[in-house]
Symmetry: C2
Subunit: 658 residues, 2 copies
């Protein structure tokens, strides 16, 4: 470590603490402890070009401990990304580029949104998986056009989270050797020493997962850390570096204490830290020799990208077809229009929508070469296998069918990482009820606006015999509540095609919620379903009552319409597979489907009622679940819980006052 | 293994497969593979009395692989619990005692509801933790009145789930030596061999957690398994038995295959299995010698309970005070009435509701001796510490403050297990947004109707600088959608007392959703809040407009009421801290609070709008979040997202058409 190296490390420490101090909010502890490893990585090991943060073959850096955001912002600033000292001064303020936790799409150079612990490690597994798959697809002898590492940094918190355990176990199974995790082990969490709750041998655990584990002896020695990183890069297994550090290092009053974690050091302590670290007194000061050095690192990165561009140009000459495919794969736009493609929409007769979904998936797989995904061990039930596309494994990197194991939470975060990597269109699948397990990762799909496709089968009490633990009743309400997440519950095959067409083109994460049991095929379903809600079967004249439903409950509503007609009531059936899309239609369209003047409205959905009051108001009725389901044949359950045409008729007559 | 032992084991296998065959639905594979270890446990090792399944000091058995329910029902029937062959014949049918997955409170002898993988192991950690704490509290030399084991059985699926990893790591840290997990390792999951997704060394991983790991060589040898169980009981660490088995053992066409897992064997295969296992041909046949033997086991259990009762009688003489405390601790009813106790309701001036919650918790801790709980490493922020009640650790079993580590999902399932054990009133705490991580376990709290208290602080954009990853916006809607879960979001100190009073008396799990930021104390808040919704500030005459809000948004609504009065509009403010309780009030009460004739209604909540349409209908307005939040000072965020009195006034005038 040179004198200047130490200056840079201490600049990272103090710049981070300054941000927190200026905001009077944030986490100085980890940045001060982890600065040496961050320096080793960003200064010596990682390959990236700050002038082009989108370079496809850059190394990826994931700060899984998102609360150490100030450190990431300090790194981005020092190493030449478009983030100024002024941005750092506005840390954690409305409108700044430096929010409390790193946000993808908001701050240049931030590869993923982190903060909820464990998510970042699982994202990193997704990055590494994507790299490995794309390398197998595109690389040719002498042309390693996909050849980069994924580095994640995490603390004790991430290490305790189950999602990180799931992801690490899968990474070991899949031998994702280009994944390198730095574990900043400061043995301090908010409640105190980690001994309170966390005495396991983390290194041994990761060895059990099949990782290479490297134990650094001095977390303040960037030379030792650099050597360990270089060793990690050589191994075919993923690597964990255990780096012992001191939280709040350099702040005499706080180092090694929980109080260094999540609050400003205080002006006096900050001044003392500057003295201790031999740093200039002023606020947000970066010495010229620091910038001079980091500019050289940036230049090295620019050169690396130039060399890669040159490599790619020669590759395009040697393998023009592959280079052409590359352009298709790395384009966010699909190579064809699934809405216009009639083969996608062709169905004959009824079927479980999970089967229809499997059909559409396989039709799409013929046209979308970079579709990749799998299930959390329920592929045969989820109908999520792409036939003839192989299985991805440690031995075969070319398979597009992934096996996530029974690890829903990590699965969701891993596909987030794959989508963030670029080049792929990932999907994942499980039973709808187990969306519970991956809720926070799904939330991050939505927050980052990643086009993840969630295949969620076995919706509602239609699950039948597996009983209440497996019957989702509140999940539709719960996921519809997530901003920016599309929840699509199709009623038949063509609506399932619409769900997939939306999922492939909208850009937002989309849940395709499908039945286990058979459903009919409706005469007039179709592309109108792309609008989220539409008139599936109209009244003969002006509607007296509106019957709204989604998915499997469209069937009883269609029957109720007939029965009401026989009783002299003219009803309209509105299929509402996706409330989010319907809400985005014009007011005129919405009024045309649900005329404001018609107050007699009945909605039916085999889930809790909450989402439907919006459409039926104080005068209408919702037929839904008030309790959990029960175990039994699904054909016994629907009538038992009131999901029948007769019940809909009764409620319609009631709201009509007849 | 005697000839008769083999008969019992094969009876377990065939009875289980028969149930699945009769239902034409279910999972025969694990029961057939795991029958020998189940036999060893239930026949030779476990202490229980089928005549009194509630005996406090019984050993607990948790079938974490809930899909193997048929095996549990076979065990319960054979070993003398009140479950008949006829019950087994109605496996998975509506109204039967034998639902698809084991359900606590529904079937005698079922200690917890399982099915969602990993939950059971974490429940078991809760059982063992409860046992350990209660033993430290009540046992005296010569009087081990709390002295039992917790056995869990799980398969590869549970082993892959993050929640199980979290729970196991904590169990190792806490040295819960009376926890013994049998890992039925058949290396088959639904998608095929576990090698596809799961190549880790599970034994080494558990050693890393600090467990004793015992490797059984033959999963079909009950003698070897018995010996390993006895060894496990001697160790002060929790123990994992790795038991290699063959899925579907005994069914020639299916054993060792994924197809044995989750579908009936088929009549022919079932007949072939009977021949292979030398079992009688008929359906649901149990040989008299099997019953003769299991009756002896039941008699042994009855004798064990009688001996314990005798021990307890002598204990009650030697330690009458402790025996008195025992009665209090094991009574579901509180030793005092928190609604009548005025000390609980006393507040002076405003405060963050998290602080008020911490206040009430500590007041309750003085009166409720068996209150126990903690946080997922956020205790100082959640205000969830009971002062002077010590910390629970491997070294000190008497502390009532638990440190769960950063393991939200396991935390929730562990407190479920503690509540199921009996004798304790557990609570847990984390940031509200991280309720996402524990959603499925919270769902199970509700399904089992366990009186868990969830302290969920840092609600809404009031979180401020930590930004969107830490700001819950959809969690209120999501949790309100869970049947049987009370979601209480108090507006001030007294409403916080109401939340706690409900949590302590209602019997259902209760979320106390609290602010980080300060709130006022309202003149007229109080016990009316026990009804879930009430008139906090009435209009002077008949209300022209209703202003509804919860928590921090009550404050702008109170201000809006004044501003509307100045504009000649007479408004009523309804505080709605708990929609679930409000819905359970009489129609007359609800009408008195929200008169049906008043259609001009405005609701405000710093969360998504979905839950509020029920109260405002098609003519009213909801002021809520349509997007995620942003990082910044909370005082900047509330106006930015429209949560102001001015906005409420504007909307009120709009819905009034003025």
């Amino acid at each position: 470590m040179t004198h200047n190296d130490a200056k840079i490390i201490n600049t990272l420490r103090i710049l981070s603490a300054e941000q927190v101090q200026a905001a009077n909010s944030g986490h100085p502890g980890m940045p001060m402890g982890a600065a040496p490893q961050a320096f080793a990585l960003w200064d010596r090991v990682m390959t990236y070009n700050p002038a082009n943060p989108q370079w496809a073959n850059r190394d990826r850096y994931v700060l899984s401990s998102g609360h150490a955001s100030a450190m990431l912002y300090s790194l981005l600033h020092l190493y030449g990304f478009d983030l100024t000292l002024d941005d750092l001064r506005h840390f954690r303020q409305v409108g700044s580029k430096t929010p409390g936790h790193p946000e993808y799409g908001h701050t240049v150079g931030v590869e993923t949104t982190t903060g909820p612990l464990g998510q970042g490690i699982a994202n990193a597994v997704g990055f590494a998986l994507a790299e490995s798959y794309l390398a197998a697809k595109f690389n040719r002898p002498g042309f390693p056009v996909v050849d980069h590492y994924t580095y994640a940094m995490c603390g004790d918190g991430c290490m305790m989270e189950g999602i990180a355990a799931e992801a690490a176990s899968l990474a070991g199974t899949l031998k994702l050797g280009k994944l390198i995790v730095l574990y900043d082990s400061n043995r301090i969490t908010i409640e105190g020493a980690t001994d309170l709750a966390f005495r396991e041998d983390v290194g041994k655990r990761f060895e059990a997962y099949g990782w290479q584990v490297l134990r650094v002896s001095d977390g303040n020695d960037p030379d030792e850390i650099t050597a360990a990183l270089e060793q990690a890069k050589q191994d075919e297994r993923p690597s964990l570096l255990i780096v012992p550090t001191t939280i709040g290092y350099g702040c005499p009053a706080k180092e090694g204490k929980a109080s260094a974690h999540g609050e400003p050091l205080g002006a006096e302590n900050l001044a003392a830290a500057k003295r201790r670290l031999d740093m200039p007194e002023g606020a947000f000061v970066v010495l010229p020799e620091v910038y001079a050095h980091t500019a050289q690192v940036a230049a090295r990165g620019a050169k690396a990208e130039a060399a890669w561009k040159d490599l790619f140009a020669r590759y395009a000459q040697a393998y023009p077809e592959l280079a052409g495919e590359w352009d298709v794969w790395f384009d966010d736009k699909l190579p064809f229009d699934p809405i216009a493609d009639e083969t996608l929409w062709k169905f004959e007769g009824g079927a479980a929508t999970r089967n229809s979904s499997g059909e559409v998936l396989n039709r799409l797989a013929q046209r979308v070469p970079n579709l990749i995904g799998g299930s959390a061990d329920l592929a045969p039930s989820n109908k999520s296998v792409m036939k003839g596309r192989g299985d991805f494994s440690a031995e075969d990197r070319t398979g597009a069918n992934l096996h996530f194991g029974i690890r829903e939470h990590a699965m969701s975060a891993i596909v987030n990482g794959m989508a963030l990597h670029g080049g792929l269109r990932p999907y994942c699948a499980t039973f709808f009820v187990f969306s519970d397990y991956m809720k926070n990762a799904m939330r991050l799909s939505a927050m980052m606006r990643l086009p993840i496709i969630y295949i969620l089968t076995h919706d509602s009490i239609g699950v039948g015999e597996d009983g209440p633990t497996h019957q989702p009743v509140e999940q539709l309400a719960g996921l519809r509540a997530v901003p920016g997440l599309l929840v699509y519950r199709p009623a038949d095959g063509r609506e399932t095609a619409a769900a997939w067409a939306v999922a492939m083109t909208d850009g937002r994460p989309t849940c395709i919620v499908a039945t286990r049991q058979d459903l009919p095929l409706y005469a007039h379903s179709g592309k109108a379903a792309l609008r989220g809600g539409y008139v599936l079967s109209d009244s003969k004249g002006a509607p007296e009552v509106l019957l709204l439903a989604s998915g499997s409950e469209v069937e009883p509503m269609m029957k109720a319409q007939e029965m009401l007609w026989e009783r002299g009531v003219d009803a309209r059936v509105v299929s509402m597979p996706c409330m989010e899309l319907f809400e985005e239609q014009s007011e005129a369209y919405k009024e045309s489907v649900l005329p404001g003047a018609v107050r007699a409205r009945v909605a039916m959905e085999a889930g809790v009622k909450q989402p439907w009051y919006r459409y039926v108001g104080l005068d209408g009725a919702v037929i839904g679940m008030d309790t959990f389901g029960v175990s039994g044949k699904y054909k016994d359950l629907f009538p038992m819980f009131g999901f029948t045409a007769e019940h809909a008729v009764e409620e319609a007559l009631r709201v009509l006052g007849r």
